[in-house]
Symmetry: C2
DNA sequence: TTTACATTTCGTTAATTAACGAAATGATGT
DNA sequence: ACATCATTTCGTTAATTAACGAAATGTAAA
């Protein structure tokens, strides 16, 4: 139960849902997401840790970058089924569409200069 | 999007999930739920209004009672699909099972004397 | 029209949460 | 070793939320 609540809490913030929908396109690093959401890196990092603790995303290091992606084989039935529902939701939402198109035209090496 | 977040927020409280699981058995009034959850009536009433505003439950008057039930024909795809997922979840959870068995042996007319 | 009682609303309090900037951490390449 | 820069952690603040009791509301029966 505790686990299920943790997943729902992770999903009940619009910035975190935007992150999940962005990750449908491709894996992303913290500062790419910060750039699209217009949030401080530290804020995005916290959101990502909440999504990871809920089992919704994975992270792996690539040099100095940390790449985040949707969790491919979620261990819990909750995250597995919810991720697959969410993939079909909000297809026409204007914010989500704008986020995804922002991502199209962005080069990590230009965007991410602290 | 706003609507989806509202649904996830409604689901991200364990007392509200317990209420939804109780309602799988039968429709219930505020004080029956208060009795099982050991919460004040006003608190339960608030939880129910959050679930209703999210489109997850319906209420209808029956004399001095207000009966709450799972929403049979949810208008949004979110609530429709989520309710059907949740129905299959937590089948063996001890808290949920205890809640449901509490409900078995309770007569609204005895329990509900403010 | 009282009385009884289920429910909701209101006001308050304690706990949780999202946000930020600054400082700490970790890894790459000079 | 040092500089660079992505990321995380920390401390703080403002906003949200769950809980309660008390008061208000609404309905049914005496």
């Amino acid at each position: 139960m505790e686990n299920l609540i943790k997943v729902f809490k992770a999903l009940s913030d619009s910035n975190r849902v935007r992150i999940l929908k962005m990750l449908e396109n491709k894996e992303l690093c913290v500062c790419e997401i910060s750039d699209v959401l217009k949030l401080a890196n530290s804020t995005v990092s916290k959101h990502l840790s909440i999504l990871r603790d809920a089992g919704l995303i994975s992270d792996f290091k690539d040099g100095k970058w940390v790449n985040y992606s949707l969790r491919v084989s979620p261990e819990s039935v909750y995250t597995k089924e919810l991720l697959s529902l969410i993939k079909n939701w909000l297809p026409d939402n204007s914010v989500i569409k704008a986020d995804k198109s922002s991502l199209g035209s962005c080069d990590r090496n230009n965007i991410c200069k602290n």
